[in-house]
């Protein structure tokens, strides 16, 4: 299991600082994520997950059945830390979006709903939409808040449980730790092995090169990729069967120490191109059709 480790947020902040100087069109997004990542880093360092229920047999049993290691009911987080990160990220969102977001958010209103929130995050988005409606917050903003608030805790579980994941036998399109879809793909330096990167817990796991991670289509005639001429370090792999795409970062052509979360931000323009080409990316959240 490849992990980004405790260094994850430090490298992310370093790379954001470098990008701000060269990608002016991303400045607003980078500044926002700089604040968010600092808040996430703060709680992640303080969080000490209880791993007593996890052992090799339990993890092997879940993964061999095709289930991720974590279930919402397994996750216990100190409520003070949850309140802290919810309030911090809400404040960052409000600074960004201003009056469109209610001025006050009472994190204690979610105090007894920790497991429901996590379940909504990893299993069933409809739960979060109902909660957002009750709290009178836009659902996309609410999902964004919950996703970024719980990501540091779930990624800590991911780091600690990484040793129990057998990536050579997993080979599925969703994360073996939390079950979410991959955000981006990394092609390993030298071997070109394909590692999928989880948007929520930041775990990485091996996957086959010529298979769609979303529908597991392996027909080479219906799998393609596109790239911008003279910029072959980044490309978009697309599946004509399910019409979905995923961004690929080829570490044989750029620095292999790149932080994939930041790399995803720095290549957002490719997501827009893929969207215009008619493909759908990794699911960030579920949203009710208008």
């Amino acid at each position: 299991m490849e992990k980004m480790g405790e260094e994850f947020y430090n490298t992310a902040l370093d790379q954001i600082a470098g990008l701000k100087a060269i990608k002016s069109e991303l400045n607003e997004i980078l500044k926002f994520y700089e604040s968010t990542i600092k808040a996430q880093q703060h709680v992640k360092v303080l969080f000490k997950p209880d791993l007593s229920i996890f052992n090799k047999d339990l993890c092997s049993s879940r993964n061999s059945e095709g289930l991720p290691l974590l279930r919402a009911e397994d996750i216990e987080i100190d409520q003070d830390l949850v309140n802290k990160i919810l309030e911090d990220i809400y404040r960052i969102i409000r600074n960004q979006r201003g009056e469109a977001v209610p001025a006050y958010f009472d994190s204690s209103s979610l105090a007894d709903q920790q497991k429901v929130l996590i379940k909504g995050l990893v299993e069933d988005g409809i739960i979060l939409e109902r909660l957002a409606c009750d709290l009178k917050i836009d659902y996309p903003v609410f999902y964004f808040l919950i996703n970024h608030a719980f990501s540091p805790f779930i990624s800590k579980y991911g780091e600690k449980l990484g040793e129990f994941v057998d990536t050579s036998n997993w080979l599925r399109g969703n994360c073996p730790v939390c079950g979410k879809e991959p955000l981006v793909v990394r092609l390993e330096e030298e071997t070109g092995r394909r590692w999928l990167f989880c948007s929520l817990c930041h775990s990485e796991w091996l996957f086959k090169r010529l298979v769609c991670p979303f529908c597991e289509n392996n027909d080479q005639e219906s799998l393609r990729y596109f790239f911008v001429e003279n910029e072959q370090a980044h490309r978009i792999d697309v599946c004509e069967k399910c019409k979905r795409y995923i961004k690929t970062i080829d570490c044989r052509k750029i620095d292999s120490g790149v932080n994939l979360f930041v790399e995803n931000l720095s290549t957002l323009v490719l997501d827009i191109v893929a969207d215009k080409e008619g493909y759908r990316g990794p699911d960030i959240f579920l949203f009710r059709e208008k």
């Binding site: 092995r193 795409y245 323009v269």
Partner: protein, 183 residues
């Protein structure tokens, strides 16, 4: 509120980011319009390196009918993504500006290369084969067997080319028929 999962639309990637209304994505959208004009699609196909009996897996990328990349297949059990120096250079079988694409002829005793047409070369080769074969068969033998011509195949020939080449050589009566690849 009466919601069912069927009412849900999955919002993905940048669409989800737009839905939050948190960012002004106009600068990115403008840049995307420019980039969209410069994108190229490519298709990947798995194949086996033709050079030796190890049989390493490779992935060939093709765009607009041209090979644009060949790399080791990391999912192949034999080579797991790695390639030897020769296999790594396979791309040059398809693309190499130093590869000859015109017939060059140097006459016996000559010191300079002349450029000739393909038709000239085919006629010249066929007449030389006929002369050589006729000389071997001039003893009136009844068997279709000649010892004065040898045929050597190349590793970069594909299955179908090898089949045609061996059929052709055997029809001529060639017995010294060799090829490097043994996959």
């Amino acid at each position: 509120m009466d919601l069912t999962r069927r009412d849900f639309l999955k919002l993905s990637g940048v669409t989800a980011l737009i839905a939050t209304g948190l960012f002004n994505l106009k600068p990115l959208t403008a840049r995307a319009q420019d980039l969209q004009l410069r994108i190229r699609y490519a298709k990947q196909t798995t194949t086996i390196c033709p050079y030796c009996a190890v049989g390493c897996g490779q992935i060939v990328s093709v765009s607009n009918g041209k090979v644009i990349n060949i790399e080791g297949d990391p999912d192949h059990p034999i080579n797991q993504g790695s390639l030897c120096s020769k296999g790594s250079a396979l791309y040059q079988v398809a693309n190499n500006e130093r590869r000859l694409d015109k017939v060059k002829y140097r006459a016996p005793g000559g010191s300079d290369w002349e450029e000739k047409s393909w038709n000239w070369a085919i006629e010249r080769i066929s007449s030389r084969i006929k002369e050589t074969r006729d000389a071997e068969l001039s003893d009136g033998r009844k068997t279709n067997r000649i010892d004065n011509i040898a045929a050597i195949g190349g590793a970069a020939l594909d299955n179908e080319e090898c089949y045609l080449y061996s059929k052709f050589a055997r029809a001529l009566g060639v017995v010294y028929l060799e090829h490097q690849a043994r996959i």
